[in-house]
């Protein structure tokens, strides 16, 4: 753990540099983008296809719909969303990699693509095998409890209660092998000297229902996904896994403040195109997706999902930097966890 923490210190610097300090620069870049761009050779002269490796109702499905609407509003080019859910995004990624690299097919994907490559380098590297058009959502995770919970009310009392349960406390998350959730929970439990049973729910509704109904004791999630439960005062966050307190959660302590010294892995969602797509078409797509990020409709959507609490925007270079940092982080952590890194 100590070795890992030392590694993490340098990682925190990277994360802050990428996620925090550079935010103003990226936001400025977004705002100064040209409001129009000539279509190269008439491209696109028909609707684009967006492969979405998750179902239409979840976070990816929703961000894909919001971005597609913004791009269409900006360019009048339609986007057909093609959902290929399953296998933690691998089904959609595989299908995308076999599609034609002509720029007409783009991909939505999340940080799972980076962690999958970190674990198995034969899987596509989103920063090398694909060209990121824009990363439009970057967010952090939190631990939530029910607002009317009386057994514990904040992080210190939660830790004390969990320690007293002798491993019988439970937390709902998506704890698949090597997932961001499982990795962060490993850090949290080791740093806090507690054992907690992670219950993996792959769908949001049963996961949130489990906390609402008292089937589990806590929930690990990102704030945008549980906003309605925060607004209705059903859930409250007791820990933010991020280097500093975001203004929207100013009264919630961070893991660093609670004595945990590890790098906060972030959830990010973005849009990609084949690396072999014609360069002029890629340039147009970059413009369209980066500019669409600034459209009112997209910003309204991001606001509703707490996605402007920290800077969510990464252009192509920023995205590559973020992805590479994530892959390095995951790879180090996986080796530390004893996973079979290929």
């Amino acid at each position: 753990m100590k070795k890992l923490q030392k590694k993490s210190m340098s990682g925190i610097v990277t994360a802050l540099a990428v996620a925090g300090f550079s935010s103003i620069a990226y936001a400025e870049e977004c705002r100064i983008s040209n409001s129009s761009m000539v279509k190269p050779g008439g491209f696109p002269d028909r609707a684009l296809t967006m492969v979405v490796p998750y179902g239409p109702g979840g976070g990816s499905g929703q961000v894909a719909a919001a971005m597609a609407e913004a791009v269409t509003g900006l360019t009048s080019v339609g986007i057909n969303r093609d959902h290929k859910p399953g296998g933690s995004g691998t089904v959609g990624m595989t299908a995308y990699m076999t599609s034609q690299a002509d720029g007409y097919t783009v991909l939505e994907h999340i940080d799972d693509a980076s962690s999958a490559h970190a674990l198995d380098s034969s899987k596509p590297n989103p920063a090398v095998d694909l060209i990121p058009l824009v990363i439009s959502q970057v967010t952090f995770s939190q631990v939530y409890i029910r607002t009317n919970e009386t057994r514990y009310t904040d992080w210190p009392s939660f830790v004390a209660w969990v320690q007293a349960q002798d491993g019988k406390a439970t937390i709902a998350n998506v704890s698949k092998e090597g997932s961001m959730e499982r990795v962060i929970m490993k850090f949290i439990t080791e740093s806090s000297n507690m054992t907690i049973q992670q219950i993996s729910f792959d769908k949001g509704a049963p996961r949130y229902g489990a906390l609402l109904g008292g089937q589990v004791d806590a929930l690990f999630e990102q704030p945008g996904d549980v906003r309605k439960f925060l607004d209705s005062d059903n859930f409250k966050p007791i820990l933010t896994v991020f280097g500093e307190r975001p203004a929207a959660f100013a009264d919630v302590p961070t893991h660093v403040e609670m004595g945990m010294d590890f790098e906060p892995l972030l959830r990010f969602r973005g849009f990609y195109v084949h690396k072999d797509a014609p360069a002029d078409r890629v340039d147009w797509l970059k413009w369209a997706f980066q500019r669409a990020y600034c459209e009112d409709s997209y910003q309204t959507y991001n606001d509703s999902k707490f996605m402007n609490v920290i800077d969510s925007y990464r252009d192509t270079d920023g995205a590559i930097e973020l992805i590479n940092a994530a892959i390095d982080q995951y790879r180090g952590v996986y080796k530390e966890m004893g996973l079979d890194v290929k």
Partner: protein, 497 residues
């Protein structure tokens, strides 16, 4: 409640455009539900961006109406051609299609129309009267351990359906359970039986498997008969079930409403489990279990009542708690969000008008199933007059499109044909296709909830059985299994004696 309902009705029918949206939803849902592959979800996904231009009440109401009528729409093709429009219509095909082959298509379709309407209307009425307390009761008392117990209870009767012997019935169910384990395990995400194919990481999708086992294998069976000169076209009958016939199944209808409603109210479960459980309970309580899978009217009644009873119930966790029960209700969340609303407790206080328009619309959508269904049914039945040499390629083409379109993967078409070939040979040997499909669908739901449930009780059976609902359902399941085994051995004992 009555005042609110009348106010919702007035809003719904007080504006011509809102009426137009309602009618579009009713007809669109039925149409897309009836075509295999292009389900009500396809229609909902197409319409989602356009709901931004509707009022919040119109947008949510449109999706609610599509949900009601789309759930019914798939029953028609399930009964007439053995092609369930969606997984929740698969149990309808278990007995509906054999009824068609016996020249009783009119009775099957008539029962499906009536029972879908009854199940849906009853569900809507319960939803209107007690949304908030029911939602809270469900999430407080039903978790993964209880859902697994429910699935175990349902699977316990699966061997009785369609197999030549109980042993073949069980082998069929076990094959379904085995197929359900293909793909990533539901907890750790570890690949199983995917043989290096990334596409198989998501497992075998329900739609191509169901289309293969039902529609494709049936085409092969009929083609073999045609080649051997033994093919007999199904007799066309437009006779609806009589009042007396339907009244004889009143208990099955009430039971299926309760089962369907209970399954529908559970977040993330929805109409598919409801239909299978409703069918399973019909088998469990039947005097002659062997009649099921061979053209038993009660099979159609139970399945169609239960899946539509789940529609109103699925709205309860969505509206009261913001927890969608399935893919379509998850899309409804997006409709709410497009209008800066969030389903959940606050919506009852912030937008009561919207809620009551939706409630009223679901009530009338279920009623419209009855009227439109009865009007269209007699016309649809004449599709059976299409000669086999034209019908068979049409079915294969529709099934192929249906298998491909749900995920856009050629693999799914291959899975469908493989399932068709396997189904063809298994049927010849007396194995049960419904048993396989029951195993596949309940297996996927059951495994996930078993794994989560075991983690919740820390792998301690004492803790598991300290939950009363689990204890009751597991014991009832074991008793059913024991009774089935006794029945299987009893004839052998007599013969030996």
């Amino acid at each position: 409640m009555i005042d609110n309902f009348l106010a919702g009705t007035a809003t719904l029918f007080g504006d011509p455009f809102t009426i137009g949206v309602f009618v579009f939803g009713v007809i669109g849902g039925m149409l897309f539900g009836a075509i295999p592959g292009v389900s009500m979800l396809t229609l909902a996904a197409i319409l989602l961006p356009f709901t931004a231009d509707l009022s919040p009440a119109q947008g949510v109401m449109l999706f609610a109406v599509i949900y009601c009528t789309g759930t019914y729409g798939g029953a028609i093709t399930a009964i007439l051609f053995n092609i369930p429009g969606a997984p929740e219509n698969a149990p309808t095909a278990f007995d509906g299609y054999p009824m068609t082959k016996k020249g009783m298509a009119g009775k099957a379709v008539g029962a499906a129309v009536l029972c879908s309407a009854i199940g849906g209307v009853a569900s809507a009425l319960i939803m209107m009267s007690a949304t908030e307390p029911l939602a809270k009761w469900a999430i407080m008392n039903i978790g993964p351990p209880e859902i697994f117990a429910l699935v175990f209870f349902g699977l316990a009767v699966a061997s009785s359906v369609g197999g030549r012997t109980i042993w073949k019935g069980w082998l069929s169910v076990l094959l379904g359970l085995l197929i359900a384990t293909i793909g990533q395990d539901p907890v750790g995400g570890i690949n199983r039986f995917n043989f290096g194919f990334s596409d198989l990481a998501a497992g075998i999708a329900f739609v191509p498997a169901i289309l293969g086992f039902f529609a494709v294998s049936e085409v092969f069976v009929q083609a073999e008969k045609k080649a051997a000169g033994k093919y007999e076209a199904p007799e066309l009958s437009v006779d609806f079930p009589s009042i007396t016939e339907l009244w004889a199944h009143k208990i099955a209808v009430v039971r299926s409403i309760l089962v369907g409603f209970f399954c529908g109210i559970l977040p993330g479960i929805g109409a598919t489990l409801a239909a299978f459980m409703g069918y399973g309970e019909a088998v469990r309580w039947a005097k002659d279990k062997s009649a099921f899978g061979k053209g038993e009217l009660e099979g159609v009644i139970s399945s169609e009542t239960a899946n539509n009873a789940a529609t109103g119930a699925a709205m309860i966790p969505l509206l009261a708690l913001g927890l969608p029960g399935g893919a379509l209700t998850a899309m409804m969340v997006a409709v709410f969000q497009m209008h800066d609303l969030e389903p959940g407790p606050l919506v009852f206080y912030n937008s009561p008008d919207l809620i009551w328009v939706v409630f009223a619309a679901m009530f009338y959508a279920n009623l419209s199933i009855l009227f439109i269904g009865l009007l269209e049914t007699k016309t649809i039945l004449y599709l059976l007059k299409i000669p086999f040499q034209f019908l068979a390629p049409m079915i294969l083409m529709l099934a192929s499109i249906g298998a491909y379109i749900s995920r856009g993967l050629v693999l799914d078409v291959m899975v469908m044909f493989l399932a068709g070939i396997i189904g063809f040979f298994l049927r010849r040997s007396g194995y049960s296709i419904p048993g396989i499909v029951l195993g596949l669908i309940l297996g996927k739901i059951g495994e996930q909830n078993f794994a989560q449930g075991m983690q919740m009780v820390h792998y301690d059976l004492g803790t598991y059985f300290s939950r009363p609902i689990c204890t009751i359902l597991v014991i009832a399941g074991i008793l059913t299994l024991a009774k089935g085994l006794y029945s299987a051995f009893a004839p052998i004992s007599k013969e030996t004696a």
